[in-house]
Each structure stands twice: as structure tokens, then as C-alpha cells.
């Protein structure tokens, strides 16, 4: 309901008439918002009538959380937060610097403790990305905006494309 209401309210910013199309630019999105509101009402009625199965089943996402200690909760929160930290820093320090750090952090979060495995997995994934996407497909991955990192990322790209 909230999503439908919010989206409907935003349609006023593009409420323009279109020549030869009487529904305008807002007709279709508004109809969908109303359908979402209708669907949500049906789901609510359905649940209030005691027919929603999920009312009886505790959510697996929240059910076990309360049984664990703070360490586990922090670990789970970090699993969700880490990708967004990676996304935030990648344009700044570049893909080729941020990626190995991200992989190592993720492996540690997934309770991998063997240095050999951490080095092996990080190395294999990194080299495969360099070979497939940087060398062969020329994907223009972010090379960083900060001084120093920009040059370092470009150096790695140059090494990956040696001989081409």
C-alpha cells in the first residue's frame, strides 16, 4: 500500500498530456498503482480472515536471529553491508584495488580461516576476471578517482592487456 501510494504521488511530476494518446504518460503507471493497492487489500483481507499460511509460520529470516549472540548478529549484518561498502569505495579506489580486499573480507565473513584457501580463491577469481573481462572483453571497469589509485588500476589494466 505504501509503495503504491508513494509511486502514485510521484506520478504528478510527469503528468503531461500526450498528443494522440489520451491516457497521457501517467495512465499506465497509475493503473498499476491502483492494481497494487487492490492486490494488497486482498492480501490483507485474506490474512485477516485467518487464511494466510505465513501467519502460523515464523519467518526463517528473523526466527533464529534472536537465539544467537551478538557476534553472529554482527556477522549477518556484515554479510548484508559489505557489498554496499564495496560499491561505495569501488569508484573511488578502483575495481582492481577494491576487489581483492572485498573477496578476502567476504571469505573471512564466511568463516574461511586457511590463509592458503584465502590466497588461492582470491588469486583465482582475480586472475580470471583480469583474463576474461579486462583482457578479452575490454570491459571498462572503474579505475578509481583518487590520486594514486587511478594510476595503480591503469597499471594493472596495462599488465592484463600485455601483448594485445
Amino acid at each position: 500500500m505504501a509503495i503504491a501510494g508513494l509511486a502514485y504521488s510521484q506520478t504528478r511530476f510527469f503528468d503531461e498530456d500526450i498528443a494522440n494518446f489520451s491516457f497521457g504518460a501517467t495512465g499506465w503507471p497509475r493503473a498499476i498503482c491502483l492494481l497494487i493497492a487492490l492486490g494488497a487489500t486482498c492480501q490483507l483481507v485474506y490474512k485477516l480472515a485467518g487464511r494466510g499460511e505465513e501467519a502460523e509460520e515464523p519467518s526463517s529470516a528473523t526466527g533464529a536471529a534472536t537465539q544467537d549472540g551478538g557476534h553472529r548478529l554482527a556477522q549477518r549484518a556484515a554479510i548484508f553491508v559489505l557489498p554496499f561498502v564495496y560499491l561505495y569505495v569501488t569508484p573511488l579506489i578502483g575495481f582492481y584495488v577494491a576487489t581483492p580486499v572485498f573477496i578476502v573480507a567476504l571469505l573471512l565473513l564466511l568463516e574461511v580461516r586457511s590463509p592458503l584457501v584465502i590466497a588461492g580463491v582470491t588469486g583465482i577469481v582475480y586472475i580470471l576476471i583480469l583474463l576474461i573481462f579486462t583482457r578479452f572483453f575490454y570491459v571498462a571497469l572503474p579505475n578509481g578517482r583518487l590520486d594514486g589509485f587511478y594510476e595503480f588500476n591503469n597499471a594493472i589494466i596495462a599488465i592484463a592487456r600485455t601483448g594485445l
Binding site: 510521484q10 494518446f21 544467537d68
Partner: protein, 507 residues
Amino acid sequence: MDLFFGGTLALFGSFHTSLIFALGLVGGMLFGAIPGVNMLTLGAVLLPFTATMDPTEAVMLFSVIYCAGVFGGAITAILFNIPGAPENAPTCFDGYPMTQKGEAGKAIGAAVMCSAVGGVASAILMMTATGLVASFAIRSFGPPEIFALIFFGLAVSASIGAKTLWKGWLSVFAGLLIATVGTDPVAGVPRFNEGSFFGLQYQSYYLSAGIHFIPMILGFFAVSEVLAQSINISKGTRERPKAALDFPSLAEFWRVRFTMLRSIVIGFFSGVLPGIGATLAAFLGYSQAQRWSKNGKNFGKGELEGVVASETANNSATGAAMIPLLALGLPGGALTAMIMGIFQIHGMEPGPLIFINSSDLVWVTFAAMFWANVAIIGLGWVQTKTVVHILRIPFRWLAPGILMLATVGAFGLRNLMIDVWVMFLAGVVGYFLRATGYSAAGIVLGLILGKLGESAFAKSMQLMDFNLLGFFERPIAAILILLGLAAIVTSIVSEIRGKEIQKALLD
């Protein structure tokens, strides 16, 4: 028949052509299997090189990539819950639960056989009925019929993967709403790219380009799966699936023969229609299999029939997609548009005359698509016996690779970090959707068909002078809309009555 044998001889008569065929097959399968990098990527990379190739070999190469690419995406869908392409999304519903039950070999075996059967059947239909089917589809299917077909497709597929009917519909509506971000299809008015709520202003020119479905698919399936498994690891509840190598038995295939036949018909007719193609075919094939199966309640829990339905239907669409291209010069999708480009690079014009002027080219293409689908059995069998061993690698070692592949795939689409943000946000949303019974597949279906549906609706309204009842004045559109409405009514009734029966049993 002579023409087909002639095409086959030309295909395998020279080492050079055979080599191109083999490379196209392996390349298509590999690119289809890597999420974010699909057969279109391979096609785009190879397209410039076709200028120096013989046109027959170039068109043949792209046709083989098309057949193999549609199959390739099933492997990662089954093993890791990551569809290689949108048309493999319904394969996840039962393929991945089968992997979790230790039946990965069976699921991949079924995908191999059914992709091959669907593709071969489609190739045979393409060879025998190209002219007939093309003229019917183009004469009879205008925007109102396409809108009606999309409505019907959504009506019968809405509840796939959701806990309740309403949650299924809400998921589809959410996908349709996301599809409206960008520009409107009639006048190009920007939508949802600027505004304000609670006093906060926002503006993003990235949103003017719309939200692409590839990052959403990668997020909902790949990222949310990695998150779910990572949480299971932190809880200590994750069980590693067994890497079983069993191939489905002949008896099991015989049991699902009607599902295969139904999916071939659905896939073929969906594939003929421009823009609809393999994705709707796979969803329709799956939903109809669930509807008519004796084991309908087991769908989504690792039912072989679900994999059979989805993979047969999406590969059946491959041959059909070539029909409007060859017979009328109308490409129905991105890869067929690339094939159209090859024709133009070589100064040729696809259309009815191509069957007279370049008969050799047409029959080599037909033969290549036929044999590519046959070859899928052999290559797929080898994959069944080899790729499944990936499951022996601990998931925590694979997770970084899966995430990085998805990240580069989402970024590489348009070289935009916003696509990677969308992917990770969709991953987090997808994780909670799973826990609350909404359907990620429904959102993806709504997103893919939303733009196409709105465009078809707008054109229909202009054609019918804004008379909504005009749909009922066109027989095919009327039948499809009535069938869609019937599907909605029966699903609502069965949802309510089903729960009443369940409640009575509990009481």
C-alpha cells in the same frame, strides 16, 4: 528432404564449416552458462568479424550460438539458482531444489534432453512450415493480439513461485511498476527520474534509461542466493548438496511426454511472435505444466516435470524465432537482429525471396540449427558428468566468484555502477521476498513484459480509438483475454476453496 541433406552435407562437408559449427556450439553453451555474459555478448563480439566471413557460415554460426546459448543458461540455474538468461528463470524453481535434494545430475540430464527435443521439434517445424506460420503470425498478430497474449501470459503465470495468489500478483505488479521507470513508450516523457517525497528532492538521469532486467535477475537470483547461503553458513545450517550424476531414466521421460508436447507447442508459437520469445514461452510452459500435472503441488519443491516444461518450451522458441526473420525480414529479438545485420553487411535482404535467391544459405542454417540441438545431447551429457562436480567445492569458496561474476555482468551491461547498485539492492530485497513468500520470478516476469505490454496497449488504444471493448472485436485477442480472465477467476476460486478444504481438514 533433399534440401535438408544438401544443407547437412554443406555443413559437415568441409572441415572449416564444421569447425565454425563446433566453436559456435561450445561458445554459445559457455556464454549461456555464465551469468551476466550471455549469447548476446558473444554475438556482439563476433559480429564485426562476420564481415570477412562467408555469409552462409556467418548466419550458421549465429544460429548455432542461439540454440546452444538458450540451453547453456540452464546449467547455472540448476546448480546455483542463477539463470544464465531470463528464459532460464523458471528452470530455477525446480532445478535448484533438485540439486539441494542431491538430484543435480537428473535435473541437468532432463534439461539436456528436453532442450534438445524442444529445439529439434522446433527446427523441424521451422523447416516444414516457415512460410505458412510466418504469414499467419504477421497477418493475425497486431498490437491488440500481442497485448492480449501478454495479459494471458501474466494471468496464468502470476502465482509462480509465490506463497499465495495475492503475493504472486503483487510481485507481478511490482515488476510492471518498475518497468515504467524510464520513458513512456508513446512520446518519450521521462518518468520517475525526478520528484520529491517528504520534502526530499531527487533527480537522476540514470533513471531516464530505465531499470534493466539483467541486474534485477542477477540480484534476485544470484545475489540473494549467496546472501541466503551465507546466512545459513553463519547459522551453521547449510547442507552441502550431493553431486549425484544420475541421468533421468527413459521411464521418467515417458511419464512427462505430454508436458514436453505441450511445451513444444507453447514454445513454438510464443517464439514466432516478435519480442515475446523464449522468456514468456518458458513461464507459460511451466505454469501450464503445473496446472495440468498430477504432481502440481510438488512444483517448486524439486519436481522433474518443472525442469522439463521450462527447458522444452524455451528451446522450442529458438527455431520459431527464425521464421519471421527469414520469411519476412522481421527480427524478433536481439540475436535475430544481429543475424539481420549479417545479411545487410553482405548486401542481402531476408524475406520471401531469400528462399529462391539464397536457398543454400537457408538450408545450411536450418540444418545447423537441427544438428546443434542434436549435438546438445552429446555435449550436455558430458556436462552432466563433469559440471556437477563443481558442487563438491565448498560454497564459501564459490561465493566470491559468483558475486564477482554477477558484479562484472551487471556493470558490463551499460558500464554503469548504478546497475551494480540495482543488482545488490535487488539481492537484499530478493532475500526478504523469499522469507515472506513473494515471488522474485513474478517481479522479473512483470519487468520483462511490462514495457512490451504497455507499448502494445498504447498502440492498440490508438488503433481502436481508445475503445477498451475493441479487444473483443478481434477474435484472437478476444479469446486470449477471455482465457486470461478465466485463468484469473479460476485461480482466485481455487485459492479460496483450496484453503477452505485445508482448514476443514485441520479442524
